[in-house]
Symmetry: C2
Subunit: 103 residues, 2 copies
């Protein structure tokens, strides 16, 4: 499953939202979200295989945290589209300027 598909499931975006605040154990995530433990574990597996999160063992817990690299790739994908709205804003600006000069 590729990066975009991985973000398709709302539950996984919720998980990322939680991990954005701080790294978490699986049980912490289970509490934060309202999902059962196997479900969370499975979603974490998907996110891990998609490169969005990594794990480290800490005692008998497994702590998941975000993996910046994947997010940078998202950013890179999105970047070329950004000029879409900057161009848009430029046009708006020019438009406003013309109005300004007219009064």
């Amino acid at each position: 499953m590729d990066a975009f598909e991985a973000l398709g499931a709302p539950t996984r975006r919720q998980i990322l939202g939680e991990l954005k605040r701080s790294p978490r154990s699986v049980n912490d995530l289970v509490d934060a979200l309202s999902a059962n433990q196997p479900s969370v574990s499975k979603h974490l597996k998907v996110l891990r295989e998609a490169g969005f999160v990594s794990v480290r063992g800490e005692g008998q817990q497994r702590i998941y945290q975000l993996e910046p690299a994947r997010f940078r790739e998202l950013e890179a994908w999105l970047a070329p589209y950004r000029q879409l709205w900057t161009r848009h804003l430029d046009a708006l600006e020019r438009h406003l300027e013309r109005k300004e000069k007219r009064r």
Copy 2:
């Protein structure tokens, strides 16, 4: 289908990639991608309903173009994660500075 799911299908990302260059008719997209026409039309429908593209009729053609608003929302979603790697870079910078001072 929500925005992220809409981006899940590779074919749809290809379509967006084409439309990024310039607005296109359906047939132009069919040629650019290697997909059959009904498939392209259906993907365009999904993208339109997800707010990524808009259409205007021009003669007997339908010209599709990107819709900036939806991309801005993606940007907004991604923004909070951006500090992930800026923090990362800061840490790297401090690390390098310490190394620098030591020599």
